[in-house]
Symmetry: C2
Subunit: 375 residues, 2 copies
């Protein structure tokens, strides 16, 4: 069932589901949820449009937060920044947007575009450019399939505004990451101006609906005293995403984390429990979970989604909140085909994050025999 409108009711489920799709990153969705709720209360619900229904010549703009999730939970936005960045790019290009879209469907960046859609009274597209959360701005299906990210605009809480026209999306990321660091580690962004036709061609579709359904499934399972982790697995079934596996279950016993280069970087280690007793899972992250090793052997890697869930509540555990003693079920979801093409893997495969010697497809194929399917 596709989402057609977002009111107060839907936002909580979307935020819960987007935290799951955030793969540990994307920023705490609660802050965006609070802002979006306030805007919807004041201005009414947001219309959701399926990508197949937008006009090819419509003008789309992506709204987002940029920064380290560790910073976002302490540096609360004013609430006017995302709209200011959005309006600035409209002004730059001399035309008004026909719809808002998400650059990533995970974490805070699922709710920020809801806020902007409510503030502008524009429809919000059901789809995004990551199909999850990734740490860098060029890591977008938009970019992979030829839509330039710039002109892009970042705005901070003091109204400082920086517009970037870059020679490549990697340059955009590099320059605006520097700006975001100097803006205090988190800022708000409008970028990837594109046509409706480009969005249809390049977006991962219906990820807002998926976030909503994930959040609702967890809530419903909890209310009916069913297993919320299983409910997450079942929700992915039948979507463009591939098989869901339970990689591991256990207790976090070590977290190394630092905010460096504008990112939350680190490693978490989990002691196995139940069927994983005696095993150790290690996860490395850059805002998002990147690679998981079980007893030293890689069992999952970007772009597949590596998700920490609280096994009791089914709530996602973001990397900035991982802590000693926490129980976790760690799932892996195969990324959809649009995200596993050769062009895509060049941008967000393990090598793009500096992991040499890890072959995405071998790991994905090997994993299916190693771990239990959930859906």
């Amino acid at each position: 069932m596709k989402l057609t409108s977002i009111g107060i009711e839907e936002i909580r489920d979307i935020a819960r589901g987007a935290a799951i799709l955030g793969c540990g990153g994307g920023g705490d969705p609660e802050i965006g949820r609070l802002m979006a709720e306030a805007a919807i209360e004041e201005l009414g619900p947001v219309t959701i449009v399926d990508p197949q229904d937008i006009a090819d010549d419509s003008f789309i703009l992506a709204s987002a937060m940029m920064g380290a999730p560790t910073v976002v939970i302490e540096k609360i936005p004013r609430g006017t920044e995302p709209l200011a960045a959005f309006r600035r790019i409209e002004k730059e290009l001399g035309k008004s947007a026909d719809a808002v879209c998400s650059m990533e469907c995970g974490g805070l960046n699922s709710t920020i575009p809801i806020l902007v859609a409510a503030q502008t009274r524009l429809p919000l597209l059901d789809g995004d450019g990551m199909g999850r959360a990734f740490p860098e701005l060029q890591m977008e299906t938009f970019s992979v399939y030829g839509v330039p990210g710039t002109p892009a605009c970042v705005v901070d809480e003091d109204g400082n505004t920086v517009i970037c026209e870059a020679s490549s999306d990697v340059e955009m990321e590099w320059l605006l990451r520097g700006v975001t660091i100097r803006m205090g580690g988190a800022a708000y962004l409008a970028h990837y101006p594109m046509s409706g036709a480009d969005f249809k061609r390049t977006a991962v579709r219906n990820t807002l609906t998926l976030a909503f359904e994930l959040g609702r499934a967890v809530r419903v399972a909890r209310a009916g005293q069913n297993d919320p982790v299983k409910a997450v697995g079942q929700t992915f079934h039948g979507t463009v995403y591939g098989d869901v596996t339970e990689l591991f279950r256990g207790k976090v016993f070590d977290v190394q984390r630092e905010t460096r280069r504008g990112f939350a970087l680190g490693k978490a280690t989990v002691n196995g429990a139940d069927e994983f007793d005696g095993s150790i899972l290690t996860i490395s992250f850059q805002n998002e979970n990147l690679v998981a090793w079980r007893d030293g052997k890689a069992v999952a890697t970007v772009p597949d989604l590596i998700i920490f869930l609280d096994p009791e509540t089914g709530e996602a555990i973001p990397t900035e909140r991982l802590r000693y003693g926490q129980r976790a079920a760690i799932l892996c979801v195969a990324a959809p085909p649009i995200m596993t093409s050769l062009e895509s893997l060049a941008v967000w495969g393990p090598l793009a994050f500096g992991y040499t010697g890890l072959d995405y497809w071998s790991i994905r194929i090997a994993r299916t025999s190693l771990v239990s399917k959930l859906s």
Copy 2:
């Protein structure tokens, strides 16, 4: 005699004089000179306009390099960057400039605006916003007296373009310094869009003429086998600048230098010779020479101009070229009144650079009794 036009003849003298006004910084003027010469050869001489002769409602834009001088001598520009930044701000504001101005009259930033004036066929104003070189973008008489620095635009050799609209000129400096660092440590800038009336009110006037006269005086003295250091002292006489003193003479015996935070930072120590025998002079710099201590006692400080000259040739020695064994005459020139107001000293007095306990006026007054006058 005021400069009215710049051809190939004048550029070498201007570059030589601007290196003196650069106070050790501003970047090597040779690179800018070569680019400006090529442009003038192709497009003809540049008209110089006295600030008093510009229309109040004319539109002025400042052109400059931004970065660490240590980087500029190795990272050669393409030559199109300053004009690209200039045109981008014109486009941003939807109007064409009537004249080009310098943000600083020292170093490379004296010749970059000549290049842009030649390329645009616009007149170049005889004046600037620093009356010397300073390391940071808010250190401008323009800013001190109320002309905002933004919108500002920086461009690098790959055509990457960043436009900044900042809440203050300190924020502009902070954000664009970050961008410049990520552009490789040097980039090209257009900023301080202003009216002719604003330029008249806030600029340090006739500094291009002064650079030309300093350069010529050194050349002429050398040709006539006269003392070029004395010629420099005499040239400042009768200008808006105050008394010129020879602070010290000796041999450099230690240089500590590093490129950090986007600046060339360091300290040089000079062993006294002749009448300064037995004394030691220490100079700290951030791109430009900031404070001089003789035997532990501060004898000169920003904004007064602290200038290293080769005593044989009269050529200025920039901080990025200071080296062991070099002979140097170190002059100090009192900054003009527009640069020593309370508002000005708040922006570029010793405290603005983190030197606590140094009072600009006490040091300036004490200096006159300590050292020999040159002019």
